[in-house]
Symmetry: C2
């Protein structure tokens, strides 16, 4: 065996403690698989006195995480502080600038500053590894960047946020509304006190931006991601979806669009209706899933736990083993990057589900359908649920493929109709 690999860990929260524990508990097998002992020798965290249920004796303590980058006894820096700015960013930049390999679970940092960090990593010849940043314990980065590297990928999609998937799963199983289930998830610790990062799709957008960069071999482009969260999903729409043979999932989708002036990469995070029998429709609770479609391999689906100390530590230590073995892959999978334009959401083409609350009176359906016709949107189905003359009833429409811009304009006009009582619900239909 070669000499031990000396590791400095910044951030000793749940994940940081998980990494230290995993390296200790599985030291034997990690050592044989890495070909050398992986030894944490230095740590940094905010509060030295806090009890983490973790023995830190014999480890060098740095109050300033950036000092880990300069510690001559540290071969590899593990950044588990989180956040796209501040000490996390400063540490990763300093470590890469010093030519030190970095392992991080920080999706925000990668999504916001990944393009520049990857350039520094390449210039310094320092690995920058981040398997834990996307889909937790699922080796999704490795699968896309190495396992499916022979493929021209056409699409990568995933359930990338466990909190949203948990909330949607409970809403469906129990027929309850979003706000109520969110409050319960917060009590149970499945959702943060400030849940916006998860439920507004931001976390999923960070992860999708990273996946898209890898799938299509181009620098990460968070700004191009269209983001909608799950706040507007109702129990009614979940039930109607079920009747139509769909489940509602918050997906992140990166797709190569080939045709016409809109050719490029479309990246979007929003609630989707997926067919009940699609594998991804069956991924429930806090589980994550990633679907990749390649020209040679067809469709590959990976699923597993997307968060938590164990799964995240599993991914962090796998990266450390790669570094110990000298298995190196460029950040976006290649040195020579593609320059494929991002396609704006207005150019998205697909089928839609539309649910209106309308006054049940003659002529309303005719008004709605003629607006759709004016925008050249072709109906696939229309269903008025129940009869209640003069009262509010839901009307459900599904369309054939049409352009987002057309749908948006049509929807604006439909929402302005007198007989339409609430903001219409719009959910995009995905093949899976």
């Amino acid at each position: 065996m070669s000499k031990p690999l000396s590791i400095g860990v910044a951030g000793l929260g749940t994940v940081g403690a998980g990494v230290l524990n995993l390296l200790r508990e599985n030291a034997d097998i990690v050592g044989t698989r890495a070909g050398r002992h992986l030894a944490v020798t230095a740590v940094s965290a905010r509060d030295r006195r806090r009890d983490r249920g973790l023995a830190l004796d014999g480890l060098r303590w740095h109050d300033d995480p950036v000092a880990l980058a300069a510690d001559p006894g540290v071969d590899v820096v593990v950044e588990l502080i989180g956040g796209s700015e501040g000490p996390a960013r400063a540490l990763v930049e300093a470590a890469l600038a010093a030519g030190k390999p970095v392992v991080t679970a920080n999706k925000a940092l990668l999504a916001v500053h990944g393009a520049q960090l990857a350039e520094t990593a390449a210039a310094r010849g320092a690995p920058l590894a981040f398997e834990a940043a996307v889909a937790g314990g699922i080796p999704a980065i490795k699968a896309l960047r190495e396992g499916l590297a022979a493929n021209r990928l056409s699409r990568v999609a995933g359930i990338l946020n466990g909190t949203c998937n948990y909330i949607l799963t409970v809403m469906r199983a129990e027929g309850r509304e979003f706000a109520e289930v969110l409050a319960e998830a917060q009590r149970l610790g499945y959702a943060e006190a400030d849940p916006s990062f998860d439920i507004d799709g931001i976390d999923a957008a960070h992860k999708l931006a990273i996946l898209a960069a890898i799938a299509f071999g181009r620098p990460v482009d968070l700004g191009a991601v269209h983001v909608e969260g799950i706040r507007d999903v109702t129990a009614l729409d979940i039930r109607l979806a079920e009747e139509l043979g769909f489940r509602i999932k918050l997906l992140g989708i990166a797709r190569r669009t080939e045709a016409g002036p809109g050719a490029g990469i479309e990246t979007r995070v929003h609630p989707c209706m997926v067919p009940c029998d699609a594998p991804i429709a069956r991924v429930d609770g806090v589980f994550n899933a990633v679907v990749a479609e390649g020209d040679a391999v067809g469709r590959v689906v990976l699923q597993g736990r997307g968060a938590g100390a164990g799964p995240t530590a599993s991914a962090v230590v796998a990266d450390l083993i790669d570094i110990a073995r000298g298995r190196h892959t460029p950040v976006w999978g290649a040195e020579a990057l593609a320059s494929i334009p991002s396609v704006p959401m207005a150019r998205h083409v697909g089928p839609y589900y539309l649910r209106l609350m309308v006054v049940d009176r003659p002529g309303v359906i005719a008004d709605v359908t003629s607006i759709l016709r004016d925008h050249r949107i072709s109906l696939e189905s229309l269903l008025q649920r129940g009869r209640a003359p003069g009262e509010a009833v839901p009307v459900v429409l599904t369309t054939h493929e049409c352009e987002e811009a057309a749908m948006r304009s049509a929807l604006e006009r439909i929402a302005a109709l007198d007989a339409v009582l609430e903001k219409p619900a719009l959910i995009r239909i995905e093949s899976a």
Copy 2:
């Protein structure tokens, strides 16, 4: 970019042609991901004159595949001949002995001679890569050996043979019997003229032996795998399974058993009843799936196409990219291998499904259940389907966990009862 990697391909059947085509069609992205051009420069196949719909101009032709190992213009040998003996084995041995990296899709060769080949590969420092040997296009080897390397795995299970899964899927969907569906699968080209290799579980056993070696870091041990195929699965049992909330799948399972004198690795291929809502129960048709359970990561499920030119070529070329990048992993994941004993099937412990055809008369159930009691087998449920005094009726029993040896002895006595009219059907129940 570094200089091109020069590849020699032996075997130009469906998969060989698929590899050549993929390397040509995706030369651009494969080159950027490999960091160098991957160029096939030499080939070998049985019949030089056969039209493969493939331009072979400018490639060196070797009538003897073993000559590829000695060809000084070949950097990496790709073996796609197949079979555990003969030219495939001779070529791989010669290439490794010469210190040349080898990529192969040959599960039989790896399962039968893998222990020795891995030793040669290690001694010569030559990579031996075989992602395509298990689960086709699913990057299962990479996921287990690298992606989940930080975990102590407790269990790996999979749908590893697409032909069997296709037959079982059609039997269930259409309520038809094995022989009829097999004959149809043969007509459609989904099953070989001599189907034994697939339907008797041999192919799945080869793949499972390889997965087990990687999951538990020990040399491959095909002889230890208990193998049963799907010939005895009936439409009746599939229907009864469905009523009990199960699907019948041919699984390969490698499990670490911790308790008592039976501690070790159990490896087995046989029809299983899995809960309908388990992800693996939903993997239908020719698709494959691999489930891995690790102490840190929990359960990870991978699914995709297990065979065919495209998926197999995807895996072969991914291995070539790893070699071009210098990403190296020891054959069984570590240099230092574990010596964990294999556990014989008689020691297997689990719940069972038992279906008897009995004469409907008083006392039969009492005879059957007292035999089970004598063997300390505890019933979970018992169901007699219909009433037809004096005639044959099915009786379905499910048991709590018991030892295979006890179940076998009990079954022998049950089968010998006068009132039991056919060979009882025994199917093991798996949690998933």
